[in-house]
Amino acid sequence: MTRKTDETTLPAGARSRPSSSSEAVRSALTELGLSAFAIVLALVISALLMVTLGYNVALAYQSMFRGAFGSLHGISQTLLRATPLLFTGFAVAIAFRAGLFNIGAEGQLYWGALACALVALTVEGLPQPIAVGLPLLAAGIAGFLWGAVPGILKAKTGAHEVITSIMLNSIAIFATTHITSRYFKAPGAVDQTERIVAAAVMPQIIPGTGLTAGILLGVAIAALVAWFFGHTALGYDFQAVGRNADAAEYGGVSSKRIQVLAMGFGGIMAGVAGGIVVLSLLNRFVANFSPGYGFTGIAVAVLGRGNPWGVVLAALLFGALDSGGMSMQLFARIPSDLTIVVQGLVIILVAAPAALRAMVRWRKPKVEPVDVA
């Protein structure tokens, strides 16, 4: 028996209509409406949790909102924290479109970060655009190579990319730690490299806030991804394989090639995410640095429903949660880890559009594909 990749097994995010039109816009709006509803619901559940434990919910959310959007600094923090998530979100969303689940963004991110840092250690004396660009290029290449592995394994042997990606995540974390501690360790207790050269540090767009040009790159990438899926033959091939691999083969598309490419392209995004973290936040490679950017990327992709601009919004939301959480902890004395709870709830809720629909009773007359022969 072959594994059926019917619509229901596809990630929810892979379901938005491929070509843009009034119909596509309407369905995208419905999808985004569902996402917004999931966020509200997650906040309500978290509020109930806080009430149960005797916290002041109003103060909590107020301080969270203020922290995230209430000042230039807050907004910068939100955007800064959204940047890597934007890229890991695309790492997952691109593979979704080809019917693949890139749960390996975390590992790709580590390789991207390490490659980026190693190149950024050597770009002394180069003009800044090149000093920043070369390490990012290295990050993309490293991410592509590591990302392509589960694609190749799937194409050659049929091994499920979810499981191989999970395994590769662990391997990547151990391997990058090993390489750093063994060959590139800066003096001190922590397994980390030396500081990258000054020219490679990503320029700040609002001086003093820490917000770097990475976010601009992210928005540019969103436009590129939107164009890729709506207006190119390769984007068409990706989606054809994702929706109906047999029909894609019929249309002359090698689904194996697309599997490798889709995972590789996803890897580029995750690798660049790692690179951006190195160039704008850490300024070196630090073993085990990621607080789960790759996994949050899954949430971002699902919440954005695979739509490039949806991914941007979702990344901003998670960035806001992150920066707002700090201020909530400070002013409402509620541990900021509550924001992780919100994230988890959002993912679970968004994963089940059927549940959300049932709750809002948006029951459109639905034609289920049924065998009436």
Binding site: R15, S19, H231, T232, Q239, G251, V372, A373
Partner: protein, 501 residues
């Protein structure tokens, strides 16, 4: 005594009405055929009786008592068993495990496999359903798998047995065996409901027949008092129009030539050294019972399957590998399974109309799409071929089966091909679309194209083809002209070469 009475059953799927106020009475101990075209609502009706679907309205009586059937186990406890068209078997489990699951034989809470094997062997012997109880289902033949399905029902003490298109996957010999089994079941007092769209089988096996059309009952007749022609008329609602106009055509040079083509399959050889030529202005039909290598032949010709040996040429030039190389030399392909191969249901009409040309000018230049060209092409083709769709941006999923198939035909024929590989081109579409598609193929023929028609519908092959090849067990066993008789071809398809001449 009535075994089953369905009153006023109505079932909708969204906007589609699958069953309209259906009344059906099945007498105990009879073989009752449900006859109708694909999509007439036969399977839906029986799935309601078996508890897999719930009717929107109506009531059911079983053995003259009102019955509330909400799940299959309700049906099972009422003595109803169903053999599905697509077998409900787990390949990696054994025959016994497949049969007993849900009604296991256990001792102290543990499975008692030896006792179960014994029970099943005994049951199989009683109805002469030859099958090895300990074999894994993946290792037995399709005919045996069907017997396992029947055993599953009998093991649950079914008195009323529903068989859904049971002969679709069987060889003629296996069909005869099945009919023997059905007669034995009948003589044992069982009631059999037999779903089919084949007139001959209806005449051969049933006591009574109920004809369904568009989800509604047309009539219930005693088989002995009716004729195939009468049944056919009721099935399609008018005199069968399969006698299409096929004017003489100028047959020209050979366009497609296949030489000694062999294709391997998991179980050996699917296609064995087949050779034929299709010439300009000619429709070559390949008739055969499904599963005799037609799918493998189709996929090999269009480049979707590796061949083990042989050559294929178009206008004398050997074909490269893959479907793209075919399209380059002017081959179009109407695939046998449109939902699997022919369309991407989630894509828009416009995007589906460029499937296979997505990298070609004028639709894309260096890989970037020209939205204008794609949409203009779509508007043009949709208008020209009369594909009914809300807009060219509508997902193909939202089109009816007939319009989806028209879309596939439109896409392929609008490529202006030299050679058309048309496989089961009218499967699962309504009568109107059938006529339309047949006329399109004949128009291609009149335009001097070469058409290879692979179809399991013998009537279709006979009506359209200039020459007919009969395929049996992966080989071409005979070539006949278009005026060959139905019975002769039927025998050839069944592998009776000697008798057929």
């Amino acid at each position: 005594m009535h075994a089953v009475e369905l009153h006023d059953i109505t079932k909708r799927f969204g906007t589609l009405v699958a069953n309209k106020a259906v009344h059906l009475t099945v007498t105990r101990g009879e073989v009752h055929c449900l006859l109708g075209e694909n999509g007439a609502g036969k399977t839906t009706l029986m799935k309601i009786l078996f508890g897999l679907y719930q009717a929107d309205s109506g009531s059911i009586r079983v053995n003259e008592k009102p019955a509330l059937i909400r799940r299959p186990d309700d049906a099972i406890s009422l003595g109803i068993g169903m053999v599905h068209q697509h077998f409900m078997l787990v390949p990696r489990l054994t025959v016994t495990e497949n049969v007993i699951a849900g009604s296991e034989v256990s001792r102290n809470g543990f499975l008692d496999m030896n006792a179960a094997v014994e029970d099943i062997t005994k049951l199989a012997e009683r109805y002469r359903l030859r099958v090895a109880a300990r074999a894994r289902v993946e290792n037995i033949s399709v005919g045996q798998q069907q017997r396992v399905e029947i055993l599953k029902a009998l093991y649950r003490k079914a008195d009323i047995l529903i068989l859904d298109e049971p002969t679709a996957v069987l060889t003629p010999q296996e069909t005869d065996d099945l009919f023997e089994i059905i007669r034995r079941l009948k003589s044992d007092g069982k009631t059999v409901i037999f779903i089919t769209h084949k007139l001959r089988e209806t005449m051969a096996i049933s006591d009574r027949v109920t004809v369904l059309r568009d989800g509604a009952v047309v009539d219930t007749l005693n088989t002995a008092e009716t004729t195939p022609a009468e049944l056919a008329r009721r099935m399609v609602g008018r005199d069968v129009l399969l006698r299409v106009e096929r004017p003489p055509s100028d047959i020209g040079e050979p366009l497609l030539a296949v030489r000694d083509l062999s294709v391997a399959s998991r179980f050996g050889t699917a296609v064995e050294s087949i050779s034929f030529t299709v010439r300009a202005g000619e429709i070559l039909g390949i008739a055969g019972v499904e599963g005799n290598g037609q799918l493998e032949l189709e996929e090999a010709i269009v480049g979707l399957r590796k061949v083990s040996s042989g050559t294929m040429t178009v206008r004398g030039k050997e074909l490269g590998s893959g479907p793209d190389a075919r399209r380059m030399v002017g081959m179009a392909h109407i695939p046998s399974d449109r939902l699997r191969r022919g369309v991407v249901p989630d894509f828009s009409v416009a995007w589906n109309l460029i499937l296979g040309s997505q990298w070609r000018s004028p639709f894309s230049r260096n890989g970037a799409f020209s939205r204008k060209q794609i949409n203009e092409h779509a508007e043009r083709v949709v208008a020209q071929y009369g594909v009914r769709c809300g807009s060219i941006e509508a997902p193909v999923r939202s089109l009816s089966g007939g319009n989806q198939q028209k879309l596939v035909v439109a896409r392929e024929l609008s490529r202006k091909p030299e050679v058309v590989i048309a496989c089961q081109p009218t499967r699962g579409v309504d009568v109107g679309a059938i006529e339309y598609i047949h006329n399109q193929l004949l128009a291609m023929r009149a335009a001097g194209k070469a058409i290879l028609l692979i179809s399991a519908e013998l009537d279709e092959v006979r009506a359209l083809s200039d020459r007919i090849l009969v395929m049996y067990e992966g080989r071409i066993v005979a070539e006949r002209s278009s005026d060959a008789g139905e019975s002769e071809l039927g025998l050839l398809m069944a592998g009776h070469q000697a008798e057929a001449g």
